[in-house]
Amino acid sequence: MKLTLHIWRQRSPTAKGQMVRYDVPDVSPDMSFLEMLDVVNEGLILKGEEPIAFEHDCREGICGSCGFMINGVAHGPSRGTAVCQLHMRQYKDGDVLFVEPFRARAFPLLKDLAVDRRALDRIITAGGYISVRTGSAPEGNVIPVPKEKAELAMDAAACIGCGACVAACPNASAALFTGAKITHLGLLPQGQAERDQRAKKMVAQANVEVFGNCTNIGECEAVCPKEIKIEVIARMNRDYLKAAWKNRESYRDDDPVELALSRGKP
């Protein structure tokens, strides 16, 4: 089949970008979307032009590197599918596709379709973990974890950190991402000791990174390639409120916002 692509080209973070048209003949329905872009790029290189920059790596929908908007939808039209797993059989001859980067203030554009999502790492750095020294763990079966809790925790832990939730949200909120980690760790008995602090620190960091607030629109759930449920945001809000009500939360007296500011660039 033949497709017409309009792709956002931008040389550098500060350069002016624009949509550029590419006509692609001979698209096989068995190709993945990224393989189709590979073919376009090979042609560009042979013409001496720079290939379209896009992040990708595992191409199995698990590393979270890839992601851009196709006709305004993060990762394109297939539900529960990262763009690397999107196959061209979804499209028909003559389709016109508009391909743009994930846009959010917290995701500065690097080049073409590639954006910098390190703000998500800093949210994890702020407290998205269980503090356990290597070698200090008790025997694995000492603490039983009910099967249904483990399954729910796994549902949330499946997040690949691609940032589609942020790109799809009109507020550019990272609530689904943050809520997923808070839910994963908060459901497990091992995660209880730091539960209050975790919620406060991670939410503070998300704010400092200039992600917006959640207003329960639900676009994030709709585009999430791992189909993480918006319920994780409710869990995050509950943990955050509970933690905020406690008057003395830490013997260290750390202000989570101060900490977040020291960690990230606002």
Binding site: S28, P29, H87, D121, I124, T134, P144
Partner: protein, 640 residues
């Protein structure tokens, strides 16, 4: 350069106490002094991430480098099936000794006993550590950890988190790493690729990197360098590795003096989705765990083009069950892959290309119900359907082997140090524990064992035993390596030929897959060597790299990596040609039993082949590390 020495430093005495004894004999670095040492960790996957986190916890000053935008994107994340541990929770007769035994045997007696025993011992602690980090392993209804069986084992010792075990273990290590970033002990450098190693007075003292966003070439000084940059499966172009996975860090360290061990030991995974066309950019693995319930078959008659549901039972050949009644579909990966190739070579392969066999779940669905199968493999079935457009609940999957893992890698001693003092190598990047074939669910185990439970001890021993001179980036060794790196980038940009890097890479990959893949023979390997050399020369005259060196430029990244693959592919073929026996993943057609099983030659080839680099156009020098077996007596492997 000092002459290359192969000293394995294997501990003496009973194997059960060897590691504990070795640990006790290692020198320690005083807690207050640890922060004075700078350690450079290259790679942030299971091995690198767990090492950086654990070394940071100990108080060392750690810099961790990854070429991805985030350490969480390392390719360990894509491991599906699980991680082995000798917990014996199933009461089915597992033990540390049995895991050790299975791994040595599965590796076809080409691994070191002491290393493998230590790996089996560490396996138990890894599970504890990961549970404590919040890894959501599968559970029984009572809340206990669940297990499943996996290829090459007759006990259920594999721990798993759906089909995303690698992801969950990596996120555990990543979170531990981010905790250390917050503590200030680890500095994370994403979008940074190591392009060379700097050796000063015979010791690894630093690396040269390229900032992938700005193109800046930079030197980093350290007291020790830890490489955990993964394997080299992408030499084959089509593999199950991520597109970015590459061999540049280990290859350039090899060129600076680190011996490369057993490069021809590569693993072909039996259950991958078959190739669909020329544009194919990579192959996708279907977890080995599918072989627990799926039955592998082909039609009995060659070129039988009937759809699978119209081929009656009596016209089907369940060839693994027929040939290996006791292991059936669960034979180790090398055996399964070879048998699949055999039936396809007989013209009995299925699918449009004839390069495929059925993996059929109809019996399992009948026996256990669709819901159980969905619970076990739901995400894998969905992935299969997304890629192929076929529903495996109704139509049998089609699978074909693909390159998946490389057992070979930089040579390391028992302390995971390469032949360059101060250069440590962990995970898939080293050669240490899997011999000539890796068992399923053992890669995650080895990566984490190296990172959490070995390097924290052995790096201290090195640092406490060596008094290193203070050097800075202005040292002549750093200046000259940096100049070489800059020159190589310039050279690649200046060629301005007529072929893309990818076209070279595809052609190289095809040569290596055909001649040094699932089966090899002397004539084919000689032929491959000639063609690889010719292609390499053409590459350096005719490659087209576009853009410039000072911004995000995937074209230049790829060209540098492919340049290294040419040299590495050559070494793989030289090693394969030199090893006149069949063992594990290395199947030389000249050496097989009457029923087509691999025929080892223990008398002549019971050694690790460690190759020394002597120049791009001069033959590498072979050093042999003899292997001794005191606990598991080498025998012809039998899974019948």
């Amino acid at each position: 350069m000092a002459p290359l020495k192969i000293e394995s430093k294997l501990p003496s005495g009973p194997i059960e106490q060897a590691w504990e004894k070795a640990q006790f004999e290692m020198k320690l670095v005083n807690p207050a002094n640890k922060r004075k040492y700078n350690i450079l960790v290259v790679g942030s996957g299971l091995a690198g991430g767990s090492a950086a986190a654990s070394l940071g916890e100990l108080g060392y000053n750690v810099k961790c480098f990854c070429f991805h935008g985030s350490p969480r994107r390392a390719h360990s994340i894509a491991a599906q099936g699980g991680i082995n541990a000798a917990k014996n929770y199933q009461n089915d007769g597992d033990s540390i000794f049995r895991l050790f035994y299975d791994t040595v045997k599965g590796g076809d007696f080409r691994a070191r006993e002491a290393n493998v025993y230590r790996l089996a011992q560490n396996s138990v602690r890894i599970i504890d550590q990961c549970v404590a980090q919040g890894v959501p392993f599968a559970r029984e209804y009572g809340g206990a950890l669940a297990n499943r069986s996996f290829g090459g084992a007759q006990v259920s010792r594999t721990f798993y988190a759906r089909g995303q075990t690698g992801q969950q273990l990596l996120l555990g290590a990543y979170q531990a790493l981010e905790r250390q970033v917050d503590e200030g002990t680890v500095q994370m450098l994403p979008y940074t690729e190591m392009l060379d190693l700097v050796v000063v007075d015979g010791h690894a003292r630093g690396i040269v990197t390229r900032d992938l966003l700005t193109g800046e070439i930079k030197c980093h000084v350290g007291d020790a360098v830890v490489l955990a940059s993964g394997g080299y499966g992408n030499v084959y172009y089509l593999s199950t590795n991520a597109k970015g996975s590459n061999a540049t860090a280990i290859w350039r360290a090899h060129k600076r003096g680190a011996a490369f061990a057993n490069p021809c030991f590569t693993q072909i995974h039996p259950t991958c989705i078959p190739v669909s066309g020329e544009y194919q950019s990579k192959l996708t693995l279907m977890s080995e765990s599918l072989r627990n319930d799926g039955r592998i078959w082909v039609p009995k008659k060659p070129h039988d083009k009937r759809p699978p549901d119209q081929i009656p039972e009596e016209d089907r050949d369940y060839f693994l069950e027929r040939r290996y009644p006791s292991f059936g579909n669960l034979v180790p990966r090398d055996v399964a892959s070879r048998n699949i190739k055999m039936v396809c070579d007989e013209g009995r392969g299925v699918g449009p290309s004839g390069l495929g066999v059925y993996l059929d779940f109809a019996d399992a669905i009948r026996r256990l119900g669709r819901a159980t199968i969905a619970e076990r493999y739901g995400n894998l079935f969905e992935m299969y359907e997304r890629i192929t457009g076929e529903n495996p609940y109704e139509v049998p999957m089609r699978i074909y082997p693909a390159i998946h893992y490389t057992m070979g890698g930089l040579w390391v001693d028992y302390e995971l140090m390469s032949t360059i003092p101060g250069l440590f190598v962990l995970g898939e990047a080293n050669f240490s524990d899997h011999g000539a074939n890796r068992l399923g669910a053992s890669a995650l185990m080895q990566g984490l064992s190296d990172g959490y439970f070995i390097i924290p001890y052995t790096i201290g021993n090195y640092l406490a035993s060596n008094k290193l001179e203070k050097v800075g980036v202005s040292h002549p060794a750093f200046r000259s390596v940096e100049a070489e790196v800059v020159a190589m980038t310039k050279k690649l940009l200046s060629i301005n030929g007529t072929r893309t890097t990818t076209s070279f890479h595809k052609e190289l990959g095809k040569i290596v897959w055909d001649k040094c893949g699932m089966s090899r023979n002397a004539g084919g390997l000689e032929d491959a060597l000639g063609r690889i050399r010719g292609l390499r020369e053409e590459f350096w005259k005719n490659v087209k790299v576009v853009g410039d060196s000072n911004d995000l430029n995937a074209s230049i990244e790829a060209a540098g990596r492919v340049a290294d693959y040419f040299e590495l592919a050559e070494l793989m073929c030289i090693d394969a040609l030199d090893r006149n026996e069949s063992c594990g993943g290395h199947f030389r057609e000249e050496y097989q039993t009457s029923d087509n099983e691999a025929l080892r030659n223990d008398e002549l080839y019971s050694y690790v082949a460690a190759w020394e680099f002597t120049g791009v156009k001069s033959p590498p020098k072979l050093h042999k590390e003899p292997l001794e077996f005191h606990y598991v007596h080498p025998s012809q492997r039998s899974y019948k």
